[in-house]
C-alpha cells in the first residue's frame, strides 16, 4: 500500500477551523479542533472511549453543528446551509456505523439501494449497481437475505455497500470493526482502503483498534479529552 500523501489534491474534502462542540448534559466534548483532510486521503482517527471521536464524526456527516468554529466540506462552509442543501451535501458522504444502522425490514439489496431510492431513482435503473457492489463486498449470494439473518460481518459489509452506492466523495466510518471479529475487521478495513485507492474517495475511519491500524500505512489522528493532540502519525507498514 502506498504511503499517505497529505496534500494529494489541492481541495480539502474536510476542513475544520477552531471547531468546538458541547452537549447540554456533558459539557464540551470537542475543543478548538483544527483539521484538514485532503481529497483522496485515507486517515484513521483514534483515541480512548469518550475522547470525542464520534462527536467529531457527527460534525462531519452533519448530524450536529459546532458551537464555535467553521466546518467546511468540499470547500463549502456548512453553518449557513439550508436543510435542503445539507441533504444534498449528505449525498456526497457515505457513513458506516459500528451498529450498522440497517433497516431490518428490508433485504440486503434494498438496504444498499436506500440512498438511490432517496434520490428518486427507479429500481430497474440501479439493480445492476447494487448487485455489483454487493458482489464486491462478498455478498453476491446474499442479496435478498433479510437483515436479521445476516452475521455481524455481513451486516457491516451491507452497511459499507450502502455507504458507497452513491459513489460518495467522502466515507466516514465510526468504529466499523467494533462489532465484528478481528479477521472480518481486517477485511472491512481493506475494503475501505481499496475503495480509497481505486476510486480516490476520501476515507476517515474512527477506531480504537490500534492493532489493525498498524497494518495500514496511513496517518492517524488522535483525540484526547476533546482535543486533537497529534494530527499526523503514521501507522506501521502493512
Amino acid at each position: 500500500m502506498s504511503r499517505f500523501r497529505p496534500d494529494f489534491h489541492d481541495e480539502a474534502s474536510v476542513r475544520l477551523d477552531g471547531v468546538s462542540l458541547s452537549y447540554e448534559r456533558t459539557g464540551e466534548v470537542l475543543s478548538e479542533i483544527d483539521l484538514k483532510l485532503a481529497s483522496g486521503s485515507f486517515t484513521f482517527l483514534t483515541g480512548p472511549s469518550g475522547a470525542g471521536k464520534s462527536s467529531l464524526l457527527k460534525l462531519l456527516y452533519l448530524a450536529h453543528a459546532p458551537d464555535r468554529g467553521v466546518v467546511r466540506l468540499f470547500g463549502r462552509a456548512t453553518h449557513d446551509l439550508k436543510r435542503q442543501q445539507l441533504s444534498a451535501l449528505r449525498r456526497r458522504i457515505g457513513v458506516v456505523f459500528q451498529e450498522f444502522r440497517l433497516l431490518s425490514h428490508l433485504t440486503a439489496a434494498e438496504n444498499v439501494a436506500l440512498p438511490l431510492r432517496v434520490a428518486g431513482r427507479k429500481a430497474s435503473s440501479y439493480r445492476q449497481e447494487v448487485t455489483d457492489l454487493l458482489r464486491w463486498v462478498g455478498l453476491g449470494e446474499r442479496m435478498d437475505a433479510p437483515i436479521p439473518s445476516l452475521s455481524g460481518g455481513e451486516q457491516q459489509r451491507v452497511a459499507i455497500a450502502r455507504a458507497l452506492i452513491n459513489k460518495p466523495d467522502l466515507v466516514i466510518a465510526d468504529e466499523p470493526t467494533g462489532n465484528v471479529d478481528e479477521e472480518m475487521g481486517r477485511r472491512i478495513l481493506r475494503l475501505l482502503a481499496e475503495l480509497n485507492r481505486r476510486a480516490g474517495t476520501t476515507v476517515l475511519i474512527a477506531t480504537h483498534d490500534l492493532g489493525l491500524i498498524r497494518e495500514f500505512d496511513a496517518p492517524v489522528l488522535r483525540l484526547t479529552n476533546g482535543m486533537l493532540v497529534k494530527d499526523v502519525e503514521y501507522g506501521g507498514a502493512a
Partner: protein, 289 residues
C-alpha cells in the same frame, strides 16, 4: 428487488387502534353530515308546504257570509284557492284533541276559511280588510309566521350537526397528527438513516403521508359503509318517515347527494390525514439532523 418494500414497516398494533378510531370518527361524521342535510331537507319541505297557507277564523258568522268572504278572498291577487272547511274537515282537524269518537253534539265551532296563496305574497292585511268591510269578526293567521320560527329552529339544528361534522373532522386530524408524531418517534432510527442517506424532509414526510392517507382512506371507507348501512336501516324501516310530527325529523333519504357525501367521507378523511401527517412531520423534523 422486484417490488420495493415500503421504507416504513407495515402496520403494527398501534395502527389497528388508529384504524378503529378513524373509522369510528368517519362513521359519526358521515352520519352527522347526513342528518344535517336531512334536517335542511325537512325544513325546506315543511316550510314550502305551510308558507302559502292562511287560516281565517270567523266567530259568530253564518255559512253564507263565510262562503261570500271566501269568494272575495279568492279574487285577491296571489290567492290560489279559498274555501270554507266543512264540519267533517273541522272534526278531522280536532280529532287529536277530542279523539276518534268525534266532538260532542252542540259544541259551537267557528267557521274556518283555508286560503292557499303564493308564499311570496302576504295577503293577510287584505283579508282582514275584506272581513271588516263585510262586518265579520275575523282572525287571520298566516302560517308563514310559525314556519319562520320552525325554520329558524331547524337552522340551529343544522348548524349543530355541521358543527359536529367539523368537530369530528378536527378530532380525526388531531388524532392523525398525534399518531404521526408517535410513529415518527417510534421510527426515529429509520428517519435518521434516511436523513444520513440524503433524504430531504419532504421525502420523509411523504412516507408518513402515504401511510396515513391509505390508513384513513380505508378506515374512512369502512366508517362510511357503516353509516350507509345505518342510514339504509332507518330509511327502509321508515324510522324517519310518517305523518305530522315525523315530518319535522331529519329526512334520511339515501339519494344521490347522500351517496356523494358517503363517497367523499373517506376521500376527505384521507386528504386531511395526509395534510396532518405532512405538517406534523415537517414541524417535528425541524431542529433534527
Amino acid at each position: 428487488m422486484s417490488k420495493e418494500t415500503p421504507l416504513l414497516p407495515i402496520s403494527d398494533a398501534r395502527e389497528a387502534a388508529l384504524y378503529f378510531v378513524v373509522g369510528a370518527l368517519c362513521f359519526l361524521a358521515a352520519l352527522a353530515a347526513l342528518v344535517s342535510r336531512g334536517t335542511y331537507t325537512a325544513a325546506e319541505a315543511w316550510s314550502a308546504q305551510v308558507e302559502g297557507e292562511i287560516t281565517v277564523i270567523l266567530e259568530d258568522a253564518d255559512r253564507r257570509s263565510a262562503d261570500a268572504l271566501a269568494g272575495q278572498i279568492e279574487g285577491l291577487a296571489g290567492v290560489v284557492e279559498a274555501r270554507v272547511l266543512t264540519r267533517e274537515e273541522l272534526e278531522t282537524l280536532l280529532e287529536p284533541s277530542f279523539g276518534p269518537g268525534g266532538m260532542p253534539e252542540g259544541l259551537p265551532l267557528p267557521l274556518l276559511i283555508a286560503v292557499l296563496s303564493d308564499p311570496e305574497t302576504d295577503v293577510s292585511d287584505e283579508i282582514t280588510a275584506l272581513a271588516a268591510t263585510a262586518g265579520l269578526d275575523a282572525e287571520v293567521s298566516a302560517h308563514s309566521g310559525y314556519a319562520r320560527d320552525v325554520r329558524r329552529a331547524l337552522s340551529v339544528l343544522r348548524l349543530v350537526a355541521l358543527g359536529a361534522v367539523a368537530l369530528l373532522a378536527a378530532t380525526a386530524i388531531a388524532v392523525i397528527a398525534f399518531a404521526t408524531h408517535a410513529a415518527l418517534l417510534a421510527r426515529r432510527d429509520i428517519v435518521d438513516v434516511l436523513h444520513l442517506s440524503g433524504a430531504e424532509d419532504k421525502f420523509i414526510a411523504g412516507l408518513f403521508e402515504r401511510r396515513f392517507w391509505v390508513l384513513a382512506l380505508k378506515a374512512g371507507a369502512v366508517g362510511a359503509l357503516l353509516a350507509l348501512m345505518v342510514t339504509a336501516l332507518i330509511v327502509f324501516s321508515g324510522g324517519a318517515q310518517g305523518e305530522t310530527a315525523a315530518q319535522l325529523l331529519p329526512q334520511l333519504s339515501l339519494d344521490f347527494v347522500d351517496l356523494i357525501i358517503l363517497t367523499l367521507t373517506p376521500v376527505l378523511a384521507g386528504l386531511s390525514s395526509r395534510m396532518a401527517a405532512h405538517i406534523t412531520v415537517m414541524q417535528s423534523l425541524k431542529g433534527t439532523l
